[in-house]
Symmetry: C2
Subunit: 257 residues, 2 copies
């Protein structure tokens, strides 16, 4: 089995090192990751400028081939697949910090897994709650191997990726969850630069309801959350309710057509 390992914290992050080295237990690993931290850049693919793809021995992966890209996590997936071949499994992370609920619309870790999924590759995003203690990926990497092995055995439904969040410390177990309403409530701080001109800094505070059955509920209680995430963002539940809008809009407009 060939496994493509990527992330959005950058190739020198301890999270991807732990994940890449652990995945070697399952198959042939190759690492393609951003050269610098890319948090909050989202799912962009860089098409307006060229990209570099550089072998990076210094990242600490030993015999595992590792490359850095001056682009986004999604760029890394596209270049990795094109230049090193299609993997049987894609793993992204282990992110420094959770990716829960509405965080997913911002997450580069998940963006890489979305890109893999849209290419038809079984893809998993791994994130660790690092709020509690020192940065230690040992437990998370151990569970990541088992989760990846299960995905490799069972596959994932078409158009679905697996989003995994680890609690701090030793997990009590696993919960299969839906996404919560977890998100960052943004505030804006205004300051003046040395020349007296204003600038603004966005700062986010995590908020969200800990409803049972959600990823946030699981992680806050010390469990690993496993959340299936769909590539299809259609709000199917409201499609029928909106059907009447067609008539209302067209009635308005036929005189103009």
């Amino acid at each position: 089995m060939r496994i493509l390992v990527t992330n959005d914290d950058g190739i020198f992050s301890p999270g991807i090192k732990a994940l890449g080295l652990a995945m070697a237990a399952l198959g042939e690993v190759y690492v393609v990751a951003p050269d610098v931290e890319q948090s909050a850049v989202g799912h962009g693919i860089t098409v307006r400028r060229p990209l570099r793809f550089k072998h990076t021995q210094s990242a600490g992966f030993g015999e595992i081939p590792a490359y850095r890209v001056d682009g986004t996590p999604a760029d890394c997936v596209v270049l990795g697949v094109h230049l090193l071949g299609r993997p049987d499994l894609l793993v992204s992370g282990i992110n420094i910090g959770v990716n829960l609920g509405l965080d997913l619309t911002h997450s580069g870790t998940v963006a890489a897994a979305l890109e893999g999924t849209s290419l038809g590759i079984p893809s998993i995003a791994f994130s660790l709650d690092t709020s509690g203690e020192e940065l230690d990926f040992t437990e998370a990497a151990r569970w990541a191997v088992r989760i990846a092995r299960l995905v490799a055995e069972e596959g994932l439904p078409k158009g679905v990726l697996l989003n995994v969040n680890f609690p701090p410390g030793k997990p009590k177990g696993v919960m299969v969850t839906r996404l919560s309403t977890h998100r960052y409530e943004d505030t804006v701080v205004e300051r003046l630069d040395p020349e007296g001109r204003p600038y603004y800094w966005i700062a986010g505070t995590p908020v969200g309801e800990e409803e049972e059955g959600t990823d946030l509920f699981a992680v806050r209680r010390g469990y690993i959350s496993l959340t299936p995430v769909s590539l299809d963002f259609t709000a199917y539940g409201v499609l029928e309710g909106l059907a009447a809008w067609r008539g209302r809009l067209e009635a308005d407009l036929h005189p103009l057509l």
Copy 2:
């Protein structure tokens, strides 16, 4: 009614000019948009560096207040809401080019609407198929006003945004659709720089099945597509099927706990 207008092509794009000026028919408009084209940067919020927020008379909005931000579309929404007040409606676009199907995971136009939706503001993303002819936003802007008026009257369900795509030319009507499998199939072109070192350029070709009931189907046939998009990306259809994974993973691991 207060209407926040943003986009991802940048404040000097003809698409946002057409949209902003047209929306003035519905209420008090203010424009906050990126200073440069931000396509494919995704839904990131910039938290690692400060942002500027500059009044921009030269963008051609006349009496309408218009500000540019050196950040992403989502940054524009956050700063616009914090510095100019919460709008009753957010409109993003009109994007130069469609945002259909799987494009949504990359789209800055939609990212702005996702951000608005997560703040509880009814939000609409507008995009125009510009593949056909000369860039003309007249028809699209006219329909955008009617669609925005309907959303202002009826509201949108919680956690749902409206993604609208206009066909080229004069629309035949409106279809309420689900998302298609439309996406860009990426290829990678390798070249050598003047010093003989390789660089890579990602290029995408649009692909996707024109299934009936999808946004792609509508736009290809000359209709406007109206697609409700959910903030909740959980793949509910497979949640139950994955429930058994809990036992399998925990059984494996209890000896280690």
